[in-house]
Amino acid sequence: MDVVTVEHLSKSFGDLRVISDISFSVHQGEVLAIIGPSGSGKSTLLRAVTHLETATRGTITICGTRILDGGVYADAATLRSALLKLGLVFQDFNLFPHFSVLRNITEAQVRVLRRGKAEARERALALLEKMGLAGKASAYPCELSGGQKQRVSIARALALDPQVLFFDEPTSALDPELTGEILKVMRTLAAEKMTMVVVTHEMGFARDVADRAMLMDGGVVVEEGPARELIDNPRNERTRAFLKRFSESGRT
C-alpha cells in the first residue's frame, strides 16, 4: 500500500519554479532517501508534502486521502486529519523551549489526539527510553546536546503514531560526532519497518538504510532507484557528478 503518493507536484515562488513536476510514492514500511545538492529543492519538496509550503500544481495523496488535487487543496478538516498521519523531524529540532522534555512529547498527544494525561506520559516515557534518554524527562531542551534534542524531537513525532515520518536533514545541524546517535535511532526505526522519507547528505546512511533513493537537482528528480544501486552505480551523468563531488569532499 502507498502511504504517500505525489503526482506532478510543482511549487513556484513568483516566477521561480523551485520544484517542478515531481512524482513519487512511498510504500508502507519503506525508507526513501532524497539526496542532491543544496538548493536542489529537496527540502521544499518535503515541506510541500507536509503542507508547510503550499504547492502550486499537482496532486498529493496521504493514506488514500487526496489532500491536493490538481493544485487545489482539500477542505481544512480533511487536510488536518490527513496531515496528522505525517510526522516531521526538522533540521534544527524546533523543540518547545518552555516545556520540559516530557511535556514536549505529551502536549500534542493530549491536546491534539485527546489522549489521557497518564497514557500520554506512559507513551512519552517509553519513547524516551527507546531513544536512550530515560533520565531526561524533566530536563529542559536548553540543557540537552544537539543529538539529545534531535532524539527528543523524533520521540515527539513518534508519539502521535504517524503512518510516515519525514526527516529534513536531521543531522545537518549537529556536530559530526553526534550524527551517529541520530543515524542509529533511524536505523532502528527502519528495522522496525517504520515508513520514512529522509532528506539527507549522509550518503553512507542512504546507501545502507534506505530501500530507494531519489536524486534531485534543479528542482527535478534526476534519477530514482534502489538506494544501493543508485549510489554505487549511478546511471545518470548528474548523479555521477554529484556523488563524485561528495566522495571527493570525504563525506560518504
Binding site: 523551549p97 491534539v112 536548553c142
Partner: protein
C-alpha cells in the same frame, strides 16, 4: 507633618488605583491591538496603526484633557474625572504595550509555528500554549520600563483635578511655602517603583528555567 503625610498616603492610594486599573485594562487590551497591528487585512491594520500613531505621537496630558472635555463640548455631557483618567491612561498605555507585544510575538522563530502545525495543534493552541508563554519571557524587560513610567505618569491625573499623590504634595507645598512635600512625594514614587522593579526581577527569575 503627620497630617501632611497622612494626606500624601491617601494621595498615593489614588495614584496606586490609577496605576492598577490602567494595568488591569491596558495589558489585556494591548493583545488584540498587537494582533490587529499585524493583521493581514489592511482594513484592520491601517486603523490600528493610526491609533498607535496618535497615542504615541501626542502628549498623554493632552489625551487626558481630550477624553475628559471632548464629550462635554460635543454633547454637553460631563462625567467622572477619575473615570476619564482611567480611560485616557488605558488607551494610551495599550498602544505602547501592544508594540511591545508585537516585538515579542515577531521574535518567536518561525520553526515554533511550523513544529506546532506539523504536530496538529490548532491555531489557538499554538498561540496560547506555544507562542504566548515564550513571548511573556521575552517582553518582561521592556514591559518593566513601561510599567515604571506608568507609576510616574499617574501624576498627570491632576491635570483634570484628580487628587493623586503629586497634586496633594503640591498643595501641601503651597500651604507651607516649602518644597519638602514635593521631595517626599519623590521618595514615595521611588518606593513604588522599587517594588515594581523587584516584582519584575522576580518574574524574570521565575522564567529563567529555560532559554
Amino acid at each position: 507633618m503627620v497630617k501632611m503625610l497622612g494626606a500624601m498616603l491617601e494621595g498615593s492610594l489614588v495614584s496606586l488605583e490609577i496605576f492598577l486599573l490602567t494595568l488591569v485594562f491596558a495589558l489585556p487590551l494591548a493583545l488584540p491591538v498587537a494582533l490587529g497591528r499585524m493583521s493581514a487585512s489592511r482594513l484592520v491594520r491601517v486603523p490600528v496603526n493610526l491609533y498607535i500613531l496618535v497615542m504615541r505621537g501626542t502628549p498623554l496630558i493632552l489625551q487626558i484633557l481630550f477624553v475628559y472635555f471632548a464629550p462635554y463640548y460635543l454633547f454637553e455631557a460631563s462625567y467622572d474625572r477619575f473615570t476619564a483618567v482611567i480611560v485616557a491612561f488605558t488607551v494610551n498605555y495599550a498602544a505602547y504595550f501592544a508594540e511591545i507585544y508585537r516585538g515579542g510575538i515577531q521574535s518567536i522563530p518561525k520553526g515554533q509555528y511550523e513544529a506546532a502545525k506539523v504536530l496538529g495543534f490548532t491555531r489557538a493552541d499554538t498561540f496560547f500554549r506555544i507562542v504566548l508563554p515564550q513571548v511573556v519571557k521575552r517582553i518582561l524587560p521592556a514591559s518593566a520600563n513601561e510599567v515604571i513610567t506608568l507609576v510616574k505618569d499617574t501624576a498627570l491625573a491632576q491635570t483634570i483635578g484628580v487628587a493623586e499623590l503629586f497634586r496633594v504634595a503640591q498643595n501641601a507645598s503651597a500651604r507651607q511655602f516649602s518644597t519638602t512635600p514635593i521631595f517626599i512625594a519623590g521618595v514615595f514614587y521611588f518606593v513604588m517603583n522599587w517594588a515594581v522593579s523587584e516584582a519584575f526581577l522576580r518574574a524574570e527569575r521565575k522564567l529563567a528555567y529555560y532559554s
